[in-house]
């Protein structure tokens, strides 16, 4: 297949806040354009501090919000023209979110396998119990788990890392071509972060999935991304090849961000907050 998988063309989103007399406009996203090629699965990272418009962009890509100006297209289709019903259903199967915090995303009283069965039933046409179980098992195996490990289990019975994998498996169960992962690693330690990042890479390489990875963690973005955009106050200030940009950012804001990253010291380097 040729052409764009996802295309954002000068997308802006403005929110109006406040009451009758004191209305303020928040320009959450301003004139953002980028394009993911269908033939070239990649991990595309959106980097920025909180409030920079990352989640708004994610919601636009998931067709949960429509841009105030500009067009977002998935496989050539303007997302603003999606109608409820079969149309939206097909789109939702193809573009899946990964829940941000799996501890909050899963209902503590609901068995985890049910989430997978529901997605298989709704999006992957699984009609029988057996088909749902097969679908769930397949998705779980893609993240290094299996249905046997998850069946009948509740969220508190799994570790944070396992839950995070179940959340990704749930997204995979519909057979998507694009995943949107909004800050999937912000609260986890480096080791778990590495496992998730490695999993994303494997999904890209083995399943040909494209992944939009949203984060404020530059080091993880460096290790995982093919391309990045850096956002500040709704605007893209720098974009392109991840390694090139993060090795030598040009925009002052990108530089500030990079300088603020606290990494383990190189030999001879002084800690920033030494006594």
């Amino acid at each position: 297949m040729t052409g764009a998988l996802l295309e954002l063309d000068s997308v802006s989103k403005t929110f109006t806040r406040g009451g009758l007399f004191s209305r303020t406009q928040v320009e959450a996203v301003i004139d953002v354009s980028f394009r993911l090629e269908a033939a070239k699965p990649e991990i595309f990272s959106i980097i920025g501090e909180s409030g920079s418009g990352k989640s708004t962009l994610a919601r636009i890509i998931l067709a949960l919000q429509t841009p105030t100006r500009g067009v977002a297209r998935f496989k050539g289709r303007d997302l603003a023209t999606l109608r409820d019903g079969a149309d939206r259903h097909a789109f939702m199967a193809a573009v899946q979110p990964v829940f941000q915090n799996p501890f909050e995303a899963f209902n503590p009283l609901k068995r985890l396998d049910r989430y997978l069965y529901a997605t298989c039933q709704r999006f992957a046409g699984a009609k029988t119990e057996t088909a749902m179980q097969e679908g769930a098992d397949k998705a779980l195996r893609q993240v290094g788990l299996s249905l046997a490990e998850v069946k009948g289990r509740y969220p508190h019975e799994l570790s944070g890392g396992q839950l995070q994998r179940v959340a990704i498996a749930r997204a995979l169960a519909s057979g998507p071509s694009l995943l949107i992962a909004d800050e999937p690693v912000s609260m986890v330690d480096a080791s778990l972060r590495a496992s998730i990042v490695n999993l994303f890479r494997k999904l890209r390489d083995e399943l040909g999935l494209s992944i939009i990875y949203i984060t404020h963690d530059l080091a993880t973005a460096y290790s995982i991304s093919d391309r990045i955009i850096i956002m500040q106050k709704g605007q893209v200030v720098e974009s392109g090849d991840a390694r090139t940009i993060l090795a030598d950012p040009k925009h002052p804001y990108s530089r500030t961000l990079k300088e603020s990253v606290l990494e383990p010291l190189a030999p001879g380097e002084r800690p920033l907050f030494a006594r």
Binding site: G160, G161, A190, S191, R193, A194, V261, P264, L265
Partner: protein, 346 residues
Amino acid sequence: MSAAMRNPAAKPETADGPVVAVRDLRAWYRLRLFGVDREVKAVDGITFEVRKDEIYGLAGESSSGKSTLVKTIAGAMRPPLEIVGGEIQFSFMDGTMGLNRAPADLVERVRWRHLSYVMQGSMSVLNPVRRIGTSFFDFAFRHMGLDKAGFEAAVVAHLARVNLPASVLKAYPHELSGGMRQRVTIALATICRPQFIIADEPTTALDVVVQKDVLAMFRSIQREMASSVLFVTHDMGVHAHLTDRLGIMYAGRLVEEARTPDVFARPRHPYTRHLIHSLPRIGDDRPRSGLEGTPPSLANPPSGCRFHPRCAFATERCRVEVPPMEQVAPDHRVACFEKDRVEATP
């Protein structure tokens, strides 16, 4: 410190003794679920000290017991958490149970002035129906010995250090963003310049640029007062730049402790090693790996060394015996039977 001497709660401080000494501390969550008793051994035999004039860091994967340990030290335990054994001794008060089981008026006198605690999560101490300025007044005014105008000026100056405008004093907690609330909490905990500050993941929710300023503030307050800070975070980058000594926790126990640069340069415990090697760095393309195997259950922890099921160096002995913390170099302790083999392995 004269303030400490004036406080009847305080005992005379020994010149350079630790601000807190924790010995073989065990603190468990004792739950009764569906008629079955369950004990979560979140802190299970921890011995360490925080010295005067240092920032002591605590690291470890999530659920390793970091918050439980500092809650217990800060005297902020709630059922079902209980101290099952061990001692907590502060330089500024008598007794071997720290603030736990201490009378309320004593706790009241020690809090804020001698010891303050920034809990994980930002709503913690802020009263939702009181303006931020009122909270400052409630907690800090009587400890500061200033008149109203002087106090307000001091608060405003202190807020500026965490990049907050004076206008937040008029706001209610819910009117602030999570990051702002977190900075308010940090400002509250530090304004009285306590001898001992305990901070649990205080910057994890902050953006990197703000985090840098807040960490700089922790260091400058610590330096001004030669005070002590117990700083918890899973972020090893923060430890590298801020802490003087660093303890690594795994499954409710301390597995290694050393001066922070030594933890990074010469980790001796296999878990510490893994932790250091899994850190991503901009410009470094070496693949990183996550830890194999399942995280330990603290209700039913592995026998012997709790890390053994995930450890490449584990032997039969590790499965059976609990390795004690042993000194391997000045200020460097490790709990591992195979530490020499670990060190000899590149």
